[in-house]
């Protein structure tokens, strides 16, 4: 027999499993109304794709998965959609959430569906897609989308596929009865899983309190490579991480997934659902649910259509409402107490427990913690619950995290053994929620702070620039006219007015304001300078600066996901256009002053090339051709480098100018080669001449 490992701690609560396995699985029937919560799994809720009044068929998809970690939902019988509204869902808080409500027509007509005759001929990816489309999420209780677990990263080798038939929670026998009655389906499902992930070994872990189930599985698995591994009963051996430790001796590192240590874990109920989805083409529309507790007359396992209200399920098993003290969805250790019985069975509902007050007495008031350490002895992940309790009461988040609060699996073993009846798990849940909230708020605050600081810096920069400009203007005015003092005062007032206006504009729309400011700058500066070439150079320089600022702003906006991104992008584009205009103008002016070759182009690269040509043309008059060529080569090299830098920037910003810039780079490269060749020829000729 295979060696199994033991987990730390654990408890042995009364099992109470025998009551519900006396009769075979029975179909619970079609209720008068079915309710489908859009979130029956971990991840994003599904989105309805039907409208009120639509008629749907059994197995028809009624809600589509949203995002990667999500699964669709299907109608579990034929009928009419009568509402899409908030209803109470099976959740610890008893909250309401959006549900699709279906009124069955009791014809139970299937949508057209077909299975795959031979799945071994199918690509694993196609099978995974089918599993996702069938809406299958972990049926052991957590409801993690199965396809996500099976979508293994390429290159990851899965050593062990573990099928979880532990069912360590007291009372629940849904997996047990499934093993007893449908072992072949389980094994077939496991075979499909083996085909998909190709593990080195496949183990089905079952607690040794289910000898009939183990025997049935062993019989069905005969001749396959699947190994049935019984191990001693102890709660909570069925936790995914616990089972992995029991069967492999390995621990899943904190914050990592089982796949990271080469293990994939699936529940046996999920394996059966996968079998039905692949071989019969049926989506997940029903499941086996244990109905038990002393407040039901005939504890048993029912095959329940998803969406069936609890009262229908309970009535099928002979529910004595007056005897029930609480209504628990799930087991006595981790189940949720429900506020009423009009709550639907969902993909994760493995048990409906209706205990009497004698059976599961309400917890007595909590006494003081005497740090006896029974909780630490019971903890399956070796936490110190008694210490965490003190830290939770003191709201000491740091100490809680140092004591690995987030590794707590909330199994309830600590609360179960606590002699002072302290609801420890509740403290940990509340603390986890608190810490998550704190972190969220801290992130938000950090973010606001960053934004505020960036804004302050920007405003300061603008102010400084304006101040410098004002001083320059003042200086210029003083030099030109030596105006009377009254003018000075007027200028100051004027500047103040301008500043105020600028501020107002900034407040309204930063992008528009920036553009306006830029225009104002250009307009304002043009007449003050006498030398047109100098003006053009200044214009190019300042536009370049503006472009730089605009790009920075855009990058920041993109990083922050601000809704100003588009505005900023337009600004950047406009500034770029302006820059090319300014450069063209500068080139024109330079040509006029040197060789008067007009070169106007909207394309900056073209302009650069033109300028280079113009320069070369201008230099052609010079006497020393080699010196000329050398100068030209140097400047081409400089331009080459500048262009490369621009490309890098454009690429990092994902700008659409990249291609244009690259064309420019190629052209520059050509020219560089040409020039080098020319220079070499010139040098060679000079040498021969000298000889």
């Amino acid at each position: 027999m295979r060696k199994t490992f033991s987990i730390h701690g654990g408890v042995h609560p009364p099992e109470n499993k025998h009551q519900s396995v006396r009769t075979p699985i029975r179909f619970a029937g079609i209720p008068s109304e079915l309710t489908y919560p859009l979130s029956q799994h971990i991840g994003a809720p599904a989105e309805p794709i039907v409208a009120v009044g639509d008629r749907v068929l059994k197995g028809q998809k009624i809600a589509e998965a949203q995002g990667f970690v999500s699964v669709p939902i299907h109608a579990s019988t034929s009928g009419e959609i009568i509402a899409i509204e908030a209803r109470t869902v099976p959740h610890a808080s008893g909250m309401s959430a959006r549900c699709i409500v279906l009124k069955p027509d009791h014809e139970d007509r299937w949508i057209e569906h077909a299975g795959i005759a031979d799945y071994t001929q199918e690509e694993p990816a196609a099978l995974v897609k089918r599993i996702r489309e069938a809406g299958i999420a972990g049926m052991g209780g957590a409801g993690f989308p199965s396809a996500v677990k099976l979508g293994i990263k390429p290159g990851t080798v899965i050593q062990t596929l573990i099928i979880n038939g532990t069912e360590c929670e007291p009372y629940i026998t849904a997996d047990d009865i499934l093993m007893r009655e449908r072992a072949e389906q389980i094994i077939e499902g496991v075979n499909i899983l083996t085909h998909i992930i190709k593990p080195k070994e496949t183990l089905i872990g079952v607690e040794d309190n289910k000898p009939e189930g183990i025997a049935a599985l062993q019989k069905a698995a005969a001749g396959t490579r699947i190994e049935i591994v019984p191990f001693p009963t102890k709660y909570p051996s069925g936790g995914e991480k616990q089972l992995i430790q029991i069967l492999t001796g390995k621990e899943v590192p904190s914050g990592k997934l089982p796949a990271d240590i080469g293990v994939v874990c699936q529940n046996i109920g999920t394996a059966t659902a996968i079998y039905r989805a692949i071989v019969h083409g049926e989506p997940l529309i029903q499941r086996i649910t244990t109905v038990t507790g002393k407040a039901v007359d005939e504890p048993q396992n029912l095959e329940v259509l998803l969406g069936t209200p609890l009262h229908h399920v309970l009535a099928t098993a002979g529910f004595q409402a007056d005897k029930a003290d609480r209504l628990i969805v799930g087991g006595p250790m981790m189940g949720f107490a429900m506020p009423h019985d009009a709550i639907p069975v969902v993909k994760t509902t493995n048990c409906v427990l209706a205990p009497t007050a004698r059976e599961l007495p309400p917890p007595p008031p909590a006494q003081a913690c005497i740090r006896c350490g029974m909780c630490a002895e019971a903890c399956p992940v070796s936490l110190l619950p008694q210490q965490m309790y003190w830290f939770a009461m003191a709201k000491n988040s740091d100490a809680l995290q140092e004591h690995h609060l987030f590794d707590c699996i909330e199994c309830g073993a600590c609360s179960y053994v606590c002699p002072s009846s302290i609801p420890l798990v509740q403290y940990y849940r509340a603390s986890k929620a608190d810490i998550r909230l704190q972190e969220q708020e801290k992130r938000k605050a950090d973010y606001s702070k960053q934004r505020y600081e960036a804004r302050q810096a920007r405003l300061q920069k603008l102010e400084d620039e304006k101040e410098a400009k004002r001083k320059a203007r003042q200086q210029a005015a003083a030099n030109q006219t030596s105006a009377p003092a009254a003018n000075d005062a007027q200028a100051i007032i004027q500047a103040a007015v301008e500043r105020t206006q600028a501020k107002k504009q900034t407040a309204n729309d930063p992008a528009a304001a920036a553009i306006e400011r830029a225009q104002a700058k250009r307009d304002g500066r043009a007449p003050t300078d006498d030398n047109p070439l100098e003006t053009a150079r200044l214009a190019v320089a300042s536009t370049e600066k503006r472009l730089q600022t605009a790009r920075e702003k855009l990058a920041q906006a993109e990083a922050e996901g601000s809704d100003k991104v588009d505005a900023f992008r337009t600004g950047v584009e406009k500034t770029e256009a302006k820059l090319s205009e300014a450069r063209a103008a500068l080139a024109r002016l330079e040509h006029q002053t040197t060789s008067a070759t007009p070169a106007a182009s909207d394309d900056p690269v073209q302009a650069i090339i033109e300028r280079a040509k113009a320069k070369r043309a201008g230099l052609a008059d010079d006497e020393d051709p080699i010196a000329k060529l050398e100068r030209l080569l140097a400047s081409t090299e400089a331009r080459l480098q500048a262009t490369q830098e621009k490309i890098a920037l454009a690429e990092s910003e994902g700008s659409d100018k990249v291609d244009a810039l690259k064309t420019g780079l190629e052209k520059l490269n050509e020219k560089h080669q040409q020039l080098t060749a020319e220079l070499n020829t010139a040098r060679a000729s000079q040498t021969t001449e000298g000889q």
Binding site: H8, P14, G94, L327, I328, I370, D407, A413, P419
Partner: protein, 347 residues
Amino acid sequence: MALLRVTSPHAHHPMNKTGWVMLQVLFALLPGIATITWFFGWGTIVNIVWASVLAVSLEAIVLKLRKRSLRFYLGDFSALVTAWLLAIALPPYAPWWLVTVGIAFAILIAKHLYGGMGYNPFNPAMVGYVVLLISFPLQMTTWAEPRGVAGADLPNFLQALQLNFGLVDRTVLDGITGATALDLFAQNKTLQVSELWLNPIYGAIGGHGQEWINAAFLLGGLVLLARRIFTWHAPVCFLLALTLAAAAGYDSGSAASGGSPLMHLFTGATMLGAFFIVTDPVTSAVSNRGRMIYGACIGVLVYSIRHWGNYPDAVAFSVLLMNFAAPLIDNYTQPRTYGHKPVEKSS
């Protein structure tokens, strides 16, 4: 159908109740108490009864002042445990006022001023004991000689009652008290151990009578251990450390030698301390590794104080000293959580 809304887990261990834990501790003390009574007479029983009455009354008064439910909080029997432990530790014929001062200090100051059950950093019984030992050394070291050693007969129950409550002349006690086994060792300067052992106060391996009392407490302790009221870590490490320290200090018999390891294990308050004081969960370290360190340190301290200190026995001082250190030990002995590498911790 009124459905109860509570969070999981919905099931609770039926027998795990603090009151039941405390009751089991009290039951486990019974063999030791019976043995003490056999060897020293009824004095300890009188003390236990008186201490219990006092402790419960004082606890009730404080609970009343703190506006807490009497029934609920008295039901944890923790006051009784404190009372019994202190009464057992006191000399059998300690006067009533000594018990009163000790219990008042233990319950009022060591327990409730710190917040009551579960919040006290120091073991209340040991605080009471140490306060008495420092304040009233004469009364605290007046031990009756055990049956088989005492010159006179042991007092009967009525006499014990009268003695303890000062209704008769307490000087009659002088006739039946003497030095204890540990006293003699502490005071010994010249005698070889074998010569010292000729004194009838010594028995086969420990103090006469004391070895049986220790054995009885060991028995009670083992029962509690088997019932998982506490884990083995602290008591076993305490006894182991004491044994090793005694072995290191024992040179098989010179005048400078300490007592043999067996003598240290079966004399004084060793077994009572190991299974009923060192195991007090409230004031000890919390993790198993921490409890091992905690117990071992107490063991070494007990031997050190017995051998080099002025006081013949040392369990109370050692436990209180390590109560101080418990939070520090906790800080460095956090167990490795599933999926984590071993903890490297700084303060």
